[in-house]
């Protein structure tokens, strides 16, 4: 066993241990904090799997933005009475058996995957030149399977509508609740002032290098989103009213531009969602730029939740 093997095994044990602790923790807040730590550990696992793009996404969205969402929820739900009765022993045993069965079946399936493994890596690489990109993961997301990515952006729009839709009727068009206390800590305000401009530069840079190196629209957009969240937590700015026209345009700009470029495909490249030869890379970066904007706006709004104040208050 090499040193790396030992480290991998230790990492695996810690990930599983933190996950189990998250489940077992009585206090909801502790469970959520455990989950955030778990997400960061998972990002290291992704690095070990040679998946830096995924590691960045997991750290920023899976752990970071989701963490903010869950921490906020757990503090608001903390003082509620326990809802339903805890399950009986019979259910616990049945659930445990079922879970062990699923884990066993899954582990067996994974262990006996056929060798040599099937792979689209060479195929993806062969078409890479036509896109002008260097990062194959970005090529899959924005070129080969762009149809999936465009539809997934529509899913995000529906998620925003769904979150807004739980608002009381009278608040429709108003602002979501503030993300921080009325008098935020001076340290947080300082951080927001210093970090936000740097973060925006880093976010844009991450999208830009994503064409050839790890990074891309999702990761860059997530960093922009994080910056906006921090600024809102420091109360330097407030969540915008959901009726605002520019906000709605920014939210749909990513999927809308993507869809329009896709529809133009038959005229440019002979196929829906095709890119014309020789002009693929600029077009891809154009689409991605709007995706960064959309993601940067969508994630904070999903964290901010439904409107809870009347417009203009």
């Amino acid at each position: 066993m090499t040193l790396f093997d030992a480290l991998d095994l230790a990492l695996a044990a810690i990930v599983l241990g933190v996950a189990a602790w998250t489940i077992a923790a009585r206090e909801m807040f502790s469970a959520v904090v455990g989950y955030v730590a778990y997400g960061l550990l998972l990002a290291i696992v992704w690095v070990r799997l040679y998946a830096p793009d995924v590691a960045l996404t997991e750290a920023s969205i899976g752990s970071g933005v989701t963490g903010v969402l869950l921490v906020a929820a757990s503090t608001r739900l903390r003082r509620l009475p326990a809802p339903d009765a805890p399950p009986g022993a019979a259910l616990k045993i049945a659930a445990a058996l079922l879970s062990v069965l699923v884990t066993g079946v899954l582990a067996t399936a994974v262990l006996y995957l056929p060798n040599p493994a099937a792979s689209l890596a060479p195929e993806a690489d062969r078409h890479l030149a036509a896109t002008g990109l260097g990062n194959a993961v970005t090529a899959v997301l924005i070129a080969y399977r762009s149809f999936d990515t465009m539809l997934e952006k529509v899913v995000l729009v529906l998620a925003v509508v769904g979150v807004w839709s739980v608002a009381p009727e009278r608040f429709w068009g108003g602002q979501p609740a503030p993300l921080g206390p009325a008098a935020p800590d001076a340290a947080l305000v300082f951080l927001a002032r210093i970090l936000a401009p740097i973060g925006v530069v880093i976010g844009v840079q991450m999208f830009w290098v994503g064409a050839d190196d790890p990074g891309g629209a999702f990761q860059g957009g997530a960093i922009l989103a994080a910056m906006w969240i921090i600024v809102m937590m420091a109360r330097l700015t407030e969540p915008p009213p959901i009726g605002s026209g520019w906000l709605r345009l920014a939210l749909i700009s990513g999927p809308a531009v993507f869809l329009l470029v896709g529809v133009a495909g038959p005229y440019m490249a002979g196929s829906f969602f095709g890119y014309p030869v020789g002009f693929a890379k600029p077009l891809i970066l154009f689409v991605e730029a709007f995706m960064v904007l959309s993601i940067g706006v969508t994630l904070p709004l999903l964290v901010a939740g439904p409107p809870s104040r009347e417009a203009g208050q």
Partner: protein, 501 residues
Amino acid sequence: MTAAETTTQGGALLVLAILLPSAGILASFALGSRAAERIALGSAPIALVIALAVLAEVWRAGRPIVYTVAGLSPPLGIALRADGVSAVMLLASALIVPASGLYARAGFASPPGGGESRKAFTFWIMLQGISAALAIVFVSGDLFNLYVALELLTFAAVPLACVEGRAETFAAALRYLLFALFGSIFYLLGAALLYGAFGTLDIALLAERIRPIPAVTAAAALMTAGLLAKTALFPLHLWLPPAHANAPAPASAVLSGLVVKGSFFLTVRLWFYVLPGLPAIGFDAILGALGSAAVVFGSVLALRQPRLKLLVAYSTIAQIGYLFLIFPLGSGLHSWTADGWNGGVMQVLAHAFAKAAMFLAAGLLYESLGHDKIAKFSGAARAMPMTFLTLGLGGLSLMGLPPSGGFAAKWLLLRASIASGQWFWALVLIVGGLLAAGYMYRILAPALTSNAISLKAPPRRAGEAIALTLAVVAVALGFAPESFFQLLDIGRPALMTAGPP
């Protein structure tokens, strides 16, 4: 391996069927609730024309039509494929969604004077979300693309269940969401295993490459479990009655008539299109048995419900049960599998129209009476004859009495079960029909008495006409000509595997 698949004539229609409602969602979001209503209803005729064109093209070609998105063939690219069943389902969705939309205009109008309404904004966007998701479900040939469609369906359906904004609707929607998320993540897990084993998620390529290895069995079990949770097949049905019964009537019509069929359709795709090469391992009998249990359990609970909408929701659980008889009766290469297959598809269609009609009728009753308590229905049929005619015609199809789509479906399934010697399923069909007659009697008997009843408001004529039209379609399906079943045969997988390998 066969040569890379390319776009066929008319394949572009499949992309348009998906992009039309997707673009509608984005435009509606930007322009607000009033425009959303106009866009949702205005695009409906176009969607109908596209669905009819797909149907005509499949019929003309006599084989599935294909579009390879971005000009890339699978495995690297995504292929869309429509066979006979896809075309028929696309058409059903293009009829039922706008019917519910037209019915909903009264309840989901935007306030006069340019303001925006939360309910209208949510409803009209989510209605288009369901159209988009179902279009992908019916025509996509790629399991990951279908995962995105499943999520689209979830995100559109859950807010519809709680658009009324009462506490109990939020509880129902939350439960629905948790079940749906469990369902899609298990589906995705299965997809991961299939990709790991065969390096593709394209349905046609997987069907060629599939071999009986542990990953395939595990994937089949995990994906099926996930899809059953989304379809609300017994015993994973707990979320359905509160979600469907507490949603506004036009939303219930779409949720019960169409949305649960989306995940059922994927279960069929999985077992008949991806896994037919897999030796029988008893899954079809298990699915049939669960379906049978659902028929009995759902019907018995429907008999005990005090409210009409809850009764209709529990009846959905029972009717979903019948769908799963397609697995033991429609699979394999036997003389009777065509009957089993046609019966299963017919049941999907008949239930979609009948149940949508009944939920709309239940909504009209609620509006006019101010409640939907069955015990207080006496004399209502005289005051609202059209509404009860709709309930009666829908019930006819649910019971499986001739002439109706439900009768045609059950007759075909019955024939298949007798021809195959699987008499047990025949018993389920008969018992289910009797129980359905029981719960229909509970609704109609008090209503048909001659007591006087006072209505809060007369029923909306337009609403009644829409509901009745849907019920009439459910009945008319019973007169489907032979060519309809020939259409269903186009691209039917049992026929494809019967050819040379």
